[in-house]
């Protein structure tokens, strides 16, 4: 780390803001005293709830603020730092607001959604703090475009060599190169699932079949198996060269797949965080409206 990360932004300024907020909330909470049990309906409860709701709206506003590139006060890093600390504080504030009273109702729904948002945020923060280093290490100073460019060259090389081999090897390698799968759906990207295939020519009359080629290993094995059986020296040499390319390709693909997966994990929490935030805001409105429907 050469710069300060979000947690330590401005010397952790927003940590102290959040702590102050939480401390005053606890004071407020306990001021409800024994006269009436702590509840969202006391004035203290209303204050806590209002503050928490406004905070949630403000926290969600980060989504707008970070896209208001020209205007807006402060830096997005500052906002993010505050977002993290105050977001955590909201968890406590809302818990104090509801005084740990839960049930099968819209109010608890808001709480649950809020917890979903906050805990997915915790996960995201963890990712943000740990993942970039893994990403950088995996890419080893190369941009993803560079890796793709190299893969592209490898593909061309493999095709060129394959064209000189026997039709069976040629078909296998050519189809293996073409049917290499990278990324894909969300699951495939995150779990590095590899649905690559290659085509094996049928013997005699039989048609060609598509075989799985996960991690390119089957194709590597296929080519390697042909080396000892090569009829001519030049063919063996060709196959050797081909194998070297295929292995290099394999490691390149692993690197790319890992890059895609790491990038994916770095983002995927947002697919929980953001939609749940939107649902939370709706639930919050419903929570407030229903409180006043049956006043």
């Amino acid at each position: 780390m050469i710069y300060r990360n979000v947690m330590r932004y401005a010397g952790g300024r927003y940590l102290w803001v959040a702590l102050l907020l939480v401390a005053s909330s606890f004071v407020l909470y306990f001021s409800q005293g024994g006269v009436q049990p702590p509840n969202g309906g006391t004035w203290q409860g209303y204050v806590l709830g209002t503050v928490a709701a406004l905070l949630i709206v403000w926290l969600a506003w980060l989504g707008i603020r970070k896209r208001r590139y020209a205007g807006g006060s402060g830096t997005v890093q500052g906002w993010t730092s505050a977002h993290i600390y105050l977001g955590t504080a909201v968890l406590l504030l809302a818990t104090l607001h509801c005084a740990l009273q839960f049930g099968w109702n819209v109010h608890t729904l808001s709480y649950v959604l809020m917890c979903g948002v906050i805990f997915s945020g915790f996960y995201g923060l963890y990712q943000y703090l740990t993942q970039p280093q893994l990403l950088a290490r995996n890419r080893a100073g190369e941009a993803r475009a560079g890796l793709f460019a190299e893969l592209y060259d490898m593909d061309g090389e493999a095709r060129r060599l394959a064209a000189r081999c026997s039709p069976a090897v040629g078909l296998a390698v050519k189809s293996g190169v073409e049917r290499t799968m990278l990324g894909g759906g969300m699951g495939a990207q995150l779990l590095q699932r590899d649905g690559s295939r290659f085509m094996q020519a049928g013997s005699g009359e039989a048609a060609a079949t598509l075989l799985p080629n996960a991690d390119q290993q089957p194709l590597v094995d296929f080519v390697a198996a042909r080396i000892p059986r090569a009829a001519k020296r030049s063919e063996a040499r060709n196959l050797q060269d081909l194998l070297a390319i295929l292995v290099r390709r394999q490691s390149l693909l692993r690197q790319l797949r890992r890059d895609i997966a790491l990038q994916g994990w770095l983002r995927v929490w947002l697919y929980v965080h953001v939609p749940m935030t939107i649902a939370l805001i709706v639930a919050l409105i419903v929570h407030i409206v229903t409180t006043f429907i049956y006043w």
């Binding site: 009436q36 959604l113 460019a149 593909d155 990324g183 894909g184 759906g185 649902a279 709706v282 006043w295």
Partner: protein
């Protein structure tokens, strides 16, 4: 179908070179996914973009989803293909060529030259944004479900029910909006029908809803006052909070609920007779004002009437028409129990009711008669005057003396009498008249004695009308003891049977405990009010939580709702002779 795919290779040599692939499949899938029979890479090509089927000698093409495919230059979605037709997909060309023997279909494939390395990366979906799952769609969906389930559907069920029909069971109901459990009784009464209390949406629960069940609960303020002063509106729900947790606690005990009005001089203008109360502490609470009884002539029926007057404790005196020196009775030198010769305790006479606040009525028969016998003739110590019926006293005396004097064995009594030193020597009774006359005279003398010198008069106030004839000459003033000096406040005598003052080490109990508030031992007159003032209470109780102090809230003593009296009588009055 049997398919021959003839792919034109890009060798750069200028010669046309082809590679043939034979396939056998039900359906020929074309797309960017690796499991497609013909895999074409390209940014805009979907995993499965085209499907070719062979049916009844016809080759049919179908585009999957929104695939934009061109057949012979015309965009289309489905087509029947003929020889020579050219399918174009994002720069890739597929030409239908005559099938050689043994094949149903033959296609010539000319791939788009993806010699551009920059485009190569685009052939793969490498970011979550491209994975087809849209955060925006997810957000909208989740938000819509939330809105629907938690607000719109329950709302629908409410209107359904309002319309008089029973909504289907699966429909989320307004039970989802509940913010906490109901008081069990209310739950039993209302069930899950929120509308039984929340009758109007966005309007706070009205008292009317409560009063539908709680019909006879009395109001703190009269309606006339409320109508005059609408600002002082207090709702049931101001004090009674439903849906409270953890225990369903209906009553809010905060002092502020009282002091909001009672500490506010402006609001209290509607009841000028009441003092301002800001809490329970020195000076925060006004001095007590006791309800005292005062004779008020006679009512229409001729019975004695009483009125209640409010009086500050300091300097208050009672008028009960009963003579009772507490000091004498509590002085062991003077009075001891007849049974065991022990000194009298407070509870010898004052026995606490089961309500732990009030005491059982004092009656002559139960509390006085043991010592104060109503004998009148020493010769007949077993004969007693009837209590409470002054005219029968005369009849009793007359009857007694008639019977005695007409007794042939009569002789004047020789019984020694206790004499009091200050009394003159007893008159010698001499009667020379007829027995009957003598007996009447004797009875009249004794009657006079009883009502003016000893007997009745020692405890009661007697009115003597000498001009009247005997039977109407003496009137015992009616006696009434106050049973409740503070009808609008409660005091738990039971829990004060033993007390310890904060500034005192000793724990007091029994009569000592009583005496620490009620200074009976020094009370010579029954008119002295033995009720302590607020300063006595605040030694131990204040509304603020403090060390060594037992906190006391308004409703610790005062009830908000006036208690309905069971016999519709003034609760402060008690007929002694009951």
């Amino acid at each position: 179908m049997n398919v021959l795919i003839r792919e034109q290779l890009d060798t750069g040599s200028g010669f046309e070179e082809f590679q043939d692939t034979e396939l056998q499949c039900e359906r020929l899938d074309i797309g960017s996914a690796p499991d497609q029979q013909i895999q074409l890479l390209g940014r805009d090509i979907k995993g499965n973009a085209l499907q070719l089927t062979w049916r009844n000698g016809k080759l049919m093409l179908r585009g999957v989803g929104k695939t934009s495919v061109q057949v012979n230059g015309q965009p289309c979605r489905t087509a029947e293909l003929q020889h020579g037709d050219v399918i174009e997909l994002d720069g890739n060309r597929l030409t239908v060529i005559p099938a050689p023997a043994g094949f149903d279909v033959a296609l010539e494939l000319h791939r788009a030259s993806n010699s551009d390395a920059a485009n190569f990366e685009n052939a793969f979906v490498t970011s979550l944004a491209g994975s087809g799952i849209s955060m925006r769609a997810l957000s909208w969906t989740l938000a819509a479900i939330t809105l629907l389930v938690s607000l719109l559907l329950p709302l629908a069920s409410v209107y359904w029910r309002d319309a008089g029909a029973e909504p289907p069971a699966w429909l989320p109901s307004d039970a989802l909006w509940i913010s906490g459990p109901l008081h069990p009784v209310h739950e039993l009464a209302a069930g899950d029908d929120c509308r039984s209390c929340h009758q109007q949406m966005f309007v706070q629960v009205r008292d009317k809803a409560c009063q539908e069940c709680h019909e006879e609960i009395a109001d703190h303020l009269s309606h006339t006052l409320l109508e005059k002063h609408p600002d002082n509106q207090i709702r049931c729900a101001s004090c009674h909070r439903e849906h409270n947790e953890p225990r369903p606690t209906l009553i809010i005990r905060a002092d502020s609920l009282c002091t909001d009005c009672h500490a506010d001089e402006q609001k209290m203008e509607i009841a000028p007779e009441l003092d301002i109360v800001t809490g329970f502490a020195d000076k925060a609470h006004p001095t007590f004002r006791a309800h005292l009884l005062q004779p008020d002539g006679v009512d229409d029926s001729g019975a004695a009437a009483w009125k209640t007057v409010l009086s500050k404790i300091d300097g208050a005196s009672e008028q009960s028409n009963l003579k009772f020196p507490h000091d004498v009775h509590l002085d062991p030198e003077k009075v001891t129990s007849k049974q065991d010769d022990a000194p009298l305790e407070c509870n010898s006479c004052h026995q606490l009711n089961s309500d732990r606040e009030h005491f059982a009525p004092i009656t002559m028969e139960r509390h006085c008669a043991a010592c104060h016998e109503l004998t009148f003739d020493p010769a007949f110590p077993e004969r007693q005057l009837p209590h409470g019926k002054p005219e029968e006293v005369i009849f009793t005396l007359e009857g007694h003396y008639l019977k005695r004097l007409s007794d042939p064995d009569y002789k004047p009594a020789t019984v020694k009498k206790r004499r009091r030193p200050d009394r003159k020597k007893k008159r010698v009774e001499v009667c020379s008249e007829a027995t009957y006359q003598c007996a009447l005279q004797k009875a009249a003398r004794d009657t006079d004695d009883q009502f003016t010198r000893q007997g009745c008069v020692s405890c009661h106030e007697i009115s003597v009308y000498p001009e009247r004839e005997l039977y109407q000459r003496y009137a015992v003033k009616p006696v009434k003891l106050s049973s409740d000096y503070f009808p609008s406040a409660r005091f738990d005598h039971g829990s004060h049977r033993s007390v310890k003052y904060p500034d005192d080490d000793k724990t007091l109990s029994g009569s000592e405990a009583c005496a620490s508030c009620h200074d009976a031992a020094q009370s010579k007159e029954s008119s002295t009010l033995l009720i302590p003032d607020v300063d006595r209470c605040v030694r131990c109780h204040r509304s603020e939580r403090e060390r060594g102090i037992v906190p006391l809230q308004c409703i610790g003593c005062h009830a908000y709702h006036p208690q309905p009296s069971e016999d519709a009588m003034d609760p402060a009055q008690q007929e002694v002779d009951e």
